[in-house]
């Protein structure tokens, strides 16, 4: 077994005594893209938030690069090298695109490095360069998602976690966003992806997990999962 960059062992999360995640284990290897799919309410987002220390994990272990990060404060988790692009994007709407991106590099202090990263993001998303001074409130959904992802890249993360990046986007934009993920994968980024767009995301992923009511019900390569009936059932109930 290769050295996992992220290893989650049997974690449990409760929201005021209601179990949301009940013994979830998962591993991500370096330069790998792992996708977690599951219906609404299955605990996908909670799982990512648990890694980020945004919800309390009361049992289990979370190891990142061999270090225990369970229940660290969110900002400390970020400093270990994980970035999280949240489902709601959480852009700082009153600020401009560039200001948002620079905030993504908050944990870095090296100015040259920050500029390099900025240039990298701009080269990655040329459209953002055009709109660098525009307030993010005025961006379209797809552009906003680009800012969110770009912001996640600004701190040179060792692991990028994307929470439903295609959510609420028009189909054309969904493809665009997923293409971005594909490109990132090619750049050698380690990605943990949570998606509703089951098919496409599983295609991108090296491996995938299917989550149902807080448990992993299926695990395998993307291809295997696409063929599985479980996936379809999980989504349409038939």
């Amino acid at each position: 077994m290769a050295e996992h960059i992220l290893q989650v062992k049997d974690i449990k999360v409760r929201y005021s005594s209601i179990p949301v995640i009940q013994g979830l284990s998962l591993a991500v290897d370096p330069a790998e893209t792992v996708c977690v799919v599951g219906a609404n309410g299955s605990g996908k987002s909670t799982f990512l938030k648990a890694i980020m220390g945004a919800v309390r994990v009361f049992d289990g272990e979370i190891l990142f690069q061999g270090r225990e990060i369970k229940n660290l404060k969110t900002e400390e988790v970020v400093r270990t090298g994980i970035t999280y692009v949240p489902e709601e994007r959480m852009l700082f709407t009153a600020l401009s695109v560039e200001e948002n991106l620079l905030l993504g590099a908050y944990t870095l202090n090296d100015k040259e490095r920050i500029q390099e990263n900025l240039q990298f993001v701009y080269s990655f998303f040329p459209r953002l360069k055009e709109r660098r001074d525009q307030a993010t409130l005025t961006l379209s959904g797809g552009e906003a998602q680009m800012v969110a992802i770009g912001r996640g890249l600004m701190s040179n993360p060792s692991l990028l976690m994307l929470d439903e990046p295609s959510l609420g986007l028009a189909p054309r934009l969904v493809d665009e966003v997923l293409d971005t993920v594909r490109k990132l994968k090619r750049e050698g980024m380690t990605i943990l992806l949570v998606e509703q767009n089951v098919r496409e995301s599983l295609e991108i992923a090296d491996r995938g997990y299917v989550l149902q009511t807080g448990r992993i019900v299926l695990e395998g390569t993307g291809e295997e999962l696409i063929r599985s009936d479980v996936v379809r059932k999980a989504f349409l109930g038939i």
């Binding site: 005594s17 209601i18 219906a39 609404n40 309410g41 959510l167 089951v198 349409l236 109930g237 038939i238």
Partner: protein, 262 residues
């Protein structure tokens, strides 16, 4: 596609209880609902599904009077309720529950249900009798004196439905009552909904992500995607509708499985 309401032919002769005509709702520049029309007949049980962000809850909120609509018309049991406030809508007999409802107060289960019952009566004893009756129906009487916020979510949702039922509605809008529940709790809530529908003869419209539930109990399903109505029909046809599958599983899935879809 044009399945409009054919899923329940035996009820077709009944008049429409709720009619939504060309409802459109903007939030600033964002179009949350666009030109949505449908009607629901008395004693129907209609599911409303769609991917996240499709505008389902917004639609509910518009119908229930929580948001003013940008354009369109809503008619409920002969009244134009488009411009009515939420409590006025409720008094006309259109009750609803909320997607995220975390009880925070110090009211007990029976008190919560009594609030609903108080809509139709001033008398405390009548309200209490009615609430106790509902609790019995919903098998909640053991929990009667517990503080609601201290109960598990499943019970809270049951109580929320019970309180809405306490207002003696003609129609009930249920917003994701099964979200976050485990399978056995989903079974319970399904039984509750069916009880409301068949025994109490209340028309029900529900937003739901748990497909087992929607597909099983709905007479008819309406599907929204990106604020638009993309399908309307009985559960079996809906599940095979390419537009629906596309909305859920993505375009490529549709192409590859074209044979299985109608």
């Amino acid at each position: 596609m044009g399945y409009c309401g054919e899923g329940a032919p035996e009820k077709a002769k009944l008049m429409a209880l709720l009619e939504v005509h060309n409802l459109t709702k903007y939030f600033g520049g964002l179009k949350a609902n666009e030109d949505i029309s449908f009607s629901i007949k008395k004693e129907e049980l209609v599911g409303l599904i769609g991917p996240n962000g499709a505008g389902k809850t917004t639609l509910f909120n518009c119908i229930a009077g929580l948001y003013p609509v940008s354009s369109g018309k809503i008619i409920f049991s002969g009244h134009d309720i488009t411009a009515l406030k939420d409590y006025e809508v409720a008094r006309l007999g259109l009750a609803r529950t909320f997607q995220v409802y975390v009880a925070s107060g110090d009211m007990t289960v029976v008190e919560n249900i009594m609030v609903g019952c108080f809509m139709r009566t001033r008398s405390r004893s009548q309200a209490k009798t009615r609430a106790e009756q509902i609790m019995k129906d919903f098998k909640l009487h053991d929990l009667s004196d517990y503080i609601l916020s201290e109960l598990p979510v499943a019970s809270q949702k049951q109580v929320a439905i019970a309180a809405a039922v306490g207002t003696d509605p003609k129609m009930l809008l249920l917003d994701e009552v099964a979200a976050g529940l485990n399978p056995s709790e989903i079974e319970d809530i399904m039984a509750t909904i069916q009880h409301i529908h068949y025994n109490m003869e209340i028309t029900v419209m529900l937003i739901e992500h748990v497909m087992e539930l929607v597909m099983k109990i709905s007479d008819r399903v309406i599907v929204l995607d990106s604020g638009q109505k993309i399908a309307d029909g009985n559960p079996e046809t809906i599940a095979r509708d390419p537009n629906v599958v596309k909305a859920y599983l993505g375009e490529r899935y549709v192409h590859e499985h074209a044979g299985e879809l109608t």
